[in-house]
Symmetry: C2
Subunit: 153 residues, 2 copies
C-alpha cells in the first residue's frame, strides 16, 4: 500500500532474518536490547483482529523459532512481545500495519563483536529509552548469528 | 501448579469476562486504561514458544472478540497487546506462566457509571504509571458490558 512506511520496508534485505509466506522477521536498527526484531505482516492489515488462521499459525512458528534463536545464540530469556500500532493513530486517517516488537531479555552481559550488551532492568518492563545504534559490521554479525539459529531451530 | 500466583487466580469469578478451552479473559484490577484485561493460559507454560496449535488458534479468536468488544462498547482503537513474563524472572528459579496484557486505547474521553476515563498519551506507547482502581460497582459495570459484547461479537 502506498503511504504506508511499513509496507515500504518489507523488502529491505539488509536487516532480514527470515521471510515466510505471511511475515517478515527483521533485526531492528535499535539494538538497545540485543536481538531486538520486528515481525511484520506481509499483508497490509490494521489489527490482530484481522489476521487469518494461516497468518496466526505461521506467526506461532516464528515466535517459537525466534525465542529459541535468541536463547541459543545469546542466552536470552524471557522474550518480550508487543503489538501496538499506536504511532499509526497520530495521523488522520490512521493507516496501521500489523507488526510485533520483539525484545529479548538478559540476566547477564553479552559480548558480541567486542560490544557489551547489558539489561539493567532485567525482571522488569523494558525501558523504551534503552536505545543503541551499533556499527554495521556488528549489526551484520548479530543478524547472521540469529538468521542461522532461526533457520536451524 | 503450586507456588504460581497466576495459576491461583485462574478461577477468580469476580473479574471474569470469558473462559475458553485454553484461556481465561479477566478484567484487570487496574483500569487506568478502560477495559484493561489479562488473557491467561489455563495450562502452566512459560513462554509463547511452548503454546500448542490449539492454544494459538483459540487465542486468535479471543483477540478478535476482545478487540471488537472494547471497540463496540467504548470506542477503543487500537488495542495494545503485550506478553512479557518479566516479573517471574525476579525469582530463582523463575516460574513464568503465559499471560497477555491487553490495553485498549482511546482518542476521546469515555464516561462509564459517572467515571471519566482519559488517554492523554493516545498515539504513543502506554504509560505504565497510568493506573486506577475504581469502585466495585463501576468495575462490575465495565465487566458486564465487555462480557456481553465479547459473547455476542
Amino acid at each position: 500500500m502506498q503511504n504506508c512506511a511499513v509496507c515500504n520496508h518489507l523488502n529491505d534485505e539488509t536487516n532480514s532474518i527470515a521471510k515466510t509466506d505471511y511475515w517478515v522477521v527483521a533485526l531492528a536498527p535499535d539494538q538497545g536490547y540485543l536481538g531486538r526484531c520486528y515481525v511484520t505482516l506481509l499483508q497490509h492489515k490494521g489489527s490482530l483482529a484481522d489476521l487469518s488462521k494461516e497468518e496466526w499459525a505461521d506467526f506461532a512458528e516464528i515466535a517459537k523459532k525466534l525465542e529459541h534463536a535468541v536463547a541459543e545464540s545469546f542466552g536470552a530469556q524471557p522474550s518480550n512481545w508487543a503489538c501496538m500500532m499506536n504511532n499509526a493513530y497520530q495521523m488522520t486517517p490512521a493507516n496501521p500495519h500489523v507488526h510485533w516488537h520483539f525484545r529479548p531479555r538478559y540476566n547477564k552481559s553479552v559480548i558480541v563483536n567486542g560490544l557489551t550488551f547489558d539489561d539493567p532492568l532485567y525482571g522488569h518492563h523494558y525501558d523504551r529509552d534503552q536505545r543503541r545504534t551499533i556499527d554495521s559490521e556488528s549489526f551484520q554479525t548479530v543478524r547472521g548469528v540469529l538468521k542461522t539459529a532461526f533457520e536451524t531451530s
